[in-house]
Symmetry: C2
C-alpha cells in the first residue's frame, strides 16, 4: 500500500493503490478546502507534491507556473506510490490547523472481495447451477427416453439421486441433446426438499457461462449485482430508489397502501419494474446473455419480501404482527416477469419474523457470524435499524425503527448513496468552511448517510450545534436562518450539481438523532437482555447503504455506536446484497441462511420497558450520560481547549 | 336381475334392471326386425307382452287395437321385472327362425362401478387432495407466520413431514385463514419426490367438494370424466374427436405435422381445445365449480402425451424410436390453459416406451393386473392395438398397428362410440335384413367399433362374405354394387339420421380384417415369446372405445381374439379413462402406475420374424388355420346345415 505523508501536519497514512488524494487527506484528518465534491471545478484543493509522483489530469484551474511548481488539485489525483505533499496555507479552510492524529483507524467499507476473504467457508466448493451431461447415443439395444438417459447420467456422473425436470426444460431436451451431439448443459436448482430440479437444458457445454443476479430489496433503495458464478467476480452493480417510494416512505405506509383495491398488485409491479430496469441495464453493460442468468437471489425485509412476491403483508402491521410466511417458495423468474429464461429461478431469503427480514439473514451470513467464535454485534442501518447479537452458537435480534435518514429519507437534501452524494465531510471549526467529497467525485447533488453522519458529527465537534442538536447561533455565511429555523450551508448553489444550496436543517439533525438514538438504545437493550456488557462484544459489524466510508470516530461522537476499540469494528456496506451474492454462489450458504432464519431469536423492543427510557437518554449528542463516551468527551474537551487557545 | 323369456324361441336371459327390451332380444340372439337403430320410428320391432309388464312410452306406430292386445315396440321398452314376450312372425326378419342358444355368454362392458369392484385395493383408503387444517389463533406468545402455523398443523394432524407451498397458494393463505376463522382447506398434491406440495388454500372446510378430471387422450377420440373424489362417483363423461384428427389419422402423420413450423404448438392447441371444451361442458352439466377441481389425470399414448404437453415427439418416428421422456413432470392445469384454479394440478401417466403409452399403463392398472395371480392377457383396441401379458410378477407388452377401424376411422360410415352409432347388429341369414341398435337408441348416424365387428361377423356367418371378406354376389336390396365394388346396406337413407344410406364396403371389411389380423398375430407372438400357449391365459381383458357391448362369439368368429372359454373374458371399455380415474382417486394407484411403467418389458414386433407370417395367416375369416377356431368352424357348419334345410 502506498504511503501518503501530508505536511506541514507531518502525518502519514497507508492508502489503497489508486486512492484519491483528497480522500487520503480527509482520512488522515488533514483539512483541505474543497467545495465542489471532488469534481475538480472549484479549484480550491491545491497542494504541492514535494516527493514522488501522482496520476493527475490537466485542469484550467491551475496556471502553467503553478503546475511547474508542483501544484496539483488533490481531488483530481490518484495515489500510485509513496508521496509527500505540502498543503499550502491558502488551501486550508481555517487559519489554525487542527492537529491531525496519526494512528487513527480508518474503516473503509470492505469490498466484496475483502468480505469474501473473511468468509470461513470460502474454500468450500462452489455449487454451480449448470451441470455438464454427456450421454451415449441411443440405439436399438438402448432406446430409453432422452430424459431417462440424462437422469441416468446425472446419477452416475453427478451423484444426483433423484432428478426432476420442469416442463419447459423437458421441451428443450430433445433439441438440445441432438444439437449438442449428446452433450447438454443442465440448469439445476435444488429445492429445499433435496431432489435436483432441472429447469433448462442448453446444447453442448455452456458451463463457462453462468451468472446470478443478487438483489437487495430495500424499502428505500433497490440494489442489484450481477455475479459471474464461475469466477466469483461481481461484474456489475447498480442501485435505484425502490419504485414504491412514491406510495410511502416506510413499511407501514406501504402495508396500508397494499390493502387498498389493487394496491398489492401495484406495489408489486412497482418494485418489479425497478428490479427489471436495473437488471436489463446491467445485462447490457456486462454483455451477459439473459439465458445464462441461472438464478436471482433476493433479500429484503419481511414487508418488502411479501410485496415483491405479491403476498399480502397486512397482518404484519397489527398486533400480534404475523407475516404470511417466514420462508418462501422457489419460483421462476418468469413468474414475476423478470428478465431471464424459462430456466431462471428466483430464490428469496427467509424472513424469520415480521420485523426481521431476509436482508438481515443475508447480512448475518455475509458477516460470517454463523461460523464465528467471536461474540459479534451486527447492525444493519437501513430504513429500519436491525441489530443481531450472537456467534456460531446463538443469534438474537431486535429491530428499531431508525427511519430512512441513513438512506437520505426525511432529510432536506438527503439522497441515497449514488454518484453525486456527499459521503465525507470535514468542517473547519473556526470558519465552518466544509471540505466535501462526493461519490464518484461528481458535483454534489445531496447528502447520503455517511455524509450526514460526518456533517452532524463535525458540526457537533466544532461546537456549531449543541448536545440537543440545535444550532448555537447564526454564523453567516455557513449558518443562516432558513425556512424552519437555522440551517448549515454545506454546498453553495454555484458549486452544487442541482443549482441550489445544499443545506442541513435542525429538522434533518433531529431526524438523524432519532435514528441514532434508536440504534444505540437497541444495542444496549439487546446486550442487557443477555446479561452481557457492551465490552463483551468482540466484533461489531456495521452494514447499510450509507456510502462507501464511515468515520468511526464521528459515528461514536454522535453516540450512534458504543465506544469500543476501533479494531473491533468492521464496515460491510450493503451486507444484504453481499449475502444474496454468497447464497447464489453456494448452496451451503443457502442452507446456512435457512438455518440462521430458523435459529434466530427475536426480541420485541416495542414491549420492552427499558427501551424507551434508553432511547430518550440517547436523544442527545452523544448521550445524556457522557461517561459512556469517554473518547468523545476527551475530543470535545480538546476542541474546546483549541478554541480557547485560538 | 329381471328375467326375459322370449317365445316362440323359448329362451330366457337375465338382464339388468331397466335394460332395453330390443337389446335383451339381441343379446339372447332372438332376431326382431329393427332398422331405425332403436329410435322408435320404424315401428317394426313389435312384440306382445304375454306375462308381466314393461315400462314403455306412447307411439303412433301402434293402433289402439294393437296396444290393447299387448303389443309394444321392443325398442321403446325397459325391462323392470320378469316378463315373457312373444315375437310375432311379422316382426321376424326371416321366415326361418335361427335357433337361439340359451346359455350364451353375454359380455357387456363392465360399468365403472363393476370395474372398481374388481380392484383388489378397493378397500384402500382414498387419498383426497383436500386436507382440513385448523390452527390456533396467533397471539404475542406465538406469532409465527401463517405458513409456519399451517405447516406445523399439517405435521401434527396429518403427519406431513415436509410441506411446501406454491406462490399462488401462499398468496391465498392469509385471506383464507382469517376468512375461515383459522380453519382452512389445503389442496395438497404429492410429487414423486415425497414432500407434500400445497397448491391452494380455501377458507373453512371445503373437503366435501373435491373433484378430478380423468382424461383419455386418444389419437382419434378424447374422452373425459368428472369424478367426485369423495363419493367416488363419476358425475359425468363425454367424448369428442381429438381436434388433431384434421392433421392426420395416425400418430405418424401427427409426428410429421408436429415437425413443421409451428406444428407442435398447433397440435398442442388443438388437443387442449378439445379437452377444454369437453371439461367446460361437463362442469356446466354437473354443476361442479372450477375451483373444486383439484387435479387432472391424463392417460394417452406416448405421441399423444408428448403433443399434449408440447414436447416434440420427433425422435419417436425414426429408428431407434426414442421418446423425449417416459415420465412427465407434474404441472399446473393453468400451464396448459385448461379449466381449473391456480391450485389445479395436471398429472400425466407415464409412457414406458415410444409405442407403449400411458393409456396402456392406465389400462393395466384398471384391469387390476399388477395385483393379479392370474396370467392375464390385456388387449387395448384403439388406433393401435396394444397387448400386455402378465400378472403381479411380470408384464410384457407389444404394440401392433391396428389402424383406426375400431374407432370408426378409415370406415366409410365409421364413427366413434357416440350417440347414434350402430353398436349392435344382427343380420338375418336368409333375407339379409339387419336388426340394428344404436347408442342412445337414436337414429343411426354411422357404425362404431362394436357395430363393425357385429356386422362383419354376421355377414360372414350368414355366408354373405367369404373367408377373404369379399361379398359372394350381389343380393338386392341389401348387397348391391357401390362405388368401389359390392357393399352392404345396413340402414336405408329414409331411416338413417344422416339422410343417406349407411353402408359397409369391401374396403371397410378389409380394413377391419387388417386390424383384427394384427391383433391376433400380436397376441400369438407375445404368448409364444414367453414359451406359453394361448390356453395358459387365465383371463383376457379387452379394452377399447368400441362401444358398450362386444359380442364375444362374433369377435371370435372374426378371428380377432383366440377361442378360449367365454368366462375368461372381461370387457373393460375405455380402460385408459378408468385407470386415470383410479389414479386420481388414490396415490397408491399412481405409485402402482409408475411401477408398472418401470417394470413393463416391451417386445418390438416390427423386428420379430414370426409376426409378419402370423399376420398374413390371420388375414382370413377367422384364420387360414380353421382348427384354431373350432367353435366358429362348428357354427359355420351349423349355419350351412340350416341353409341347406331351408
Amino acid at each position: 500500500m502506498p504511503k501518503v505523508t501530508l505536511m506541514p501536519d507531518d502525518v502519514t497514512i497507508d492508502v489503497a493503490q489508486g486512492e484519491n488524494l483528497l480522500r487520503a487527506a480527509m482520512m488522515a484528518d488533514v483539512r483541505i478546502t474543497a467545495s465542489c465534491g471532488g469534481d475538480g471545478t472549484c479549484g480550491k484543493c491545491r497542494v504541492v507534491v514535494t516527493d514522488g509522483a501522482v496520476d493527475t489530469r490537466p485542469t484550467s484551474r491551475l496556471t502553467e507556473a503553478q503546475v511547474s511548481e508542483g501544484y496539483v488539485l488533490a481531488c483530481t489525483c490518484s495515489v500510485t506510490g509513496d508521496i509527500t505533499i505540502a498543503v499550502p496555507p491558502e488551501s486550508r479552510p481555517g487559519a489554525v490547523p487542527v492537529p491531525a492524529r496519526s494512528g487513527r483507524i480508518l474503516n473503509p467499507v470492505l469490498s466484496l472481495d475483502e468480505q469474501a476473504a473473511r468468509m470461513p467457508e470460502k474454500q468450500a466448493a462452489r455449487d454451480l447451477c449448470k451441470v455438464l451431461v454427456t450421454v451415449s447415443e441411443p440405439d436399438h439395444a438402448d432406446n430409453a427416453s432422452d430424459l431417462a438417459r440424462v437422469s441416468h447420467a446425472m446419477r452416475r456422473l453427478h451423484h444426483v439421486k433423484e432428478m426432476e425436470v420442469t416442463l419447459p426444460a423437458l421441451r428443450e431436451l430433445p433439441g438440445a441433446l441432438r444439437q449438442g451431439e449428446w452433450t447438454v448443459t443442465a440448469l439445476v436448482t435444488e429445492p429445499s426438499r433435496g431432489a435436483a430440479l432441472v429447469t433448462g437444458f442448453q446444447p453442448g457445454d455452456t458451463t463457462d457461462r453462468q451468472y446470478a443476479v443478487a438483489v437487495d430489496v430495500g424499502t428505500t433503495t433497490i440494489e442489484v449485482a450481477i455475479v459471474d458464478l464461475v469466477s466469483r467476480v461481481t461484474l456489475g452493480q447498480a442501485s435505484e430508489y425502490n419504485g414504491q417510494v412514491d406510495l410511502g416512505d416506510d413499511v407501514i405506509t406501504r402495508i396500508i397502501a397494499s390493502t387498498r383495491e389493487g394496491g398489492l398488485e401495484r406495489l408489486q409491479a412497482l418494485v418489479l419494474h425497478t428490479i427489471s430496469t436495473l437488471v436489463t441495464c446491467l445485462l447490457e453493460q456486462t454483455g451477459v446473455a439473459v439465458e445464462d442468468v441461472v438464478a436471482y437471489v433476493a433479500a429484503g425485509n419481511t414487508v418488502m419480501t411479501h410485496l415483491l412476491l405479491g403476498v399480502t403483508p397486512e397482518a404484519i402491521r397489527t398486533s400480534p404482527y404475523v407475516p404470511a410466511a417466514a420462508a418462501f417458495p422457489w419460483i421462476d423468474a418468469s413468474d414475476l416477469g423478470l428478465p431471464g429464461s424459462a430456466a431462471t429461478r428466483f430464490i428469496t431469503l427467509p424472513c424469520p419474523a415480521s420485523w426481521l427480514g431476509g436482508d438481515i439473514v443475508s447480512g448475518v451470513v455475509a458477516a460470517g457470524i454463523p461460523w464465528s467464535d467471536k461474540l459479534t454485534l451486527f447492525i444493519d442501518i437501513g430504513t429500519n435499524g436491525e441489530i443481531v447479537l450472537g456467534d456460531k452458537d446463538f443469534l438474537v435480534a431486535c429491530s428499531c425503527s431508525a427511519g430512512p435518514a441513513f438512506e437520505g429519507g426525511g432529510i432536506t437534501h438527503g439522497m441515497r448513496a449514488a454518484e453525486g452524494a456527499i459521503e465525507q465531510v470535514r468542517i473547519d471549526p473556526e470558519t465552518l468552511e466544509p471540505m466535501v467529497l462526493t461519490i464518484g467525485n461528481a458535483k454534489p447533488l445531496g447528502i447520503c448517510g455517511s455524509g450526514l453522519i460526518d456533517s452532524v458529527a463535525e458540526l457537533f465537534l466544532c461546537g456549531a450545534i449543541d448536545r440537543r442538536g440545535k444550532f448555537d447561533t447564526a454564523q453567516p455565511p455557513r449558518i443562516r436562518p432558513g425556512e424552519h429555523g437555522l440551517e448549515y450551508v454545506l454546498v453553495c448553489a454555484d458549486e452544487s450539481g442541482t443549482g441550489r444550496d445544499i443545506v442541513l436543517t435542525e429538522t434533518d439533525i433531529e431526524n438523524l438523532m432519532r435514528a441514532k438514538a434508536a440504534i444505540f438504545a437497541g444495542i444496549n437493550i439487546l446486550v442487557e437482555s443477555l446479561d452481557l456488557t457492551l465490552d463483551a462484544i468482540e466484533e461489531i459489524v456495521v452494514a447499510g447503504g450509507f456510502g462507501h466510508y464511515l468515520d468511526l470516530e464521528r459515528v461514536m461522537a454522535l453516540g450512534m455506536l458504543p465506544e469500543l476499540p476501533a479494531k473491533r469494528f468492521v464496515f460491510l456496506g450493503n451486507s444484504s446484497l453481499s449475502g444474496a451474492r454468497l447464497v447464489a454462489e453456494s448452496r451451503q450458504m443457502l442452507e446456512k441462511a435457512a438455518k440462521v432464519a430458523e435459529a434466530i431469536a427475536y426480541l420485541e423492543l416495542s414491549v420492552n420497558a427499558g427501551f424507551m427510557e434508553m432511547y430518550l437518554s440517547s436523544l442527545f449528542l452523544p448521550h445524556t450520560d457522557l461517561s459512556l463516551f469517554p473518547n468523545t468527551e476527551e475530543l470535545l474537551a480538546q476542541r474546546l481547549r483549541e478554541k480557547v487557545v485560538s
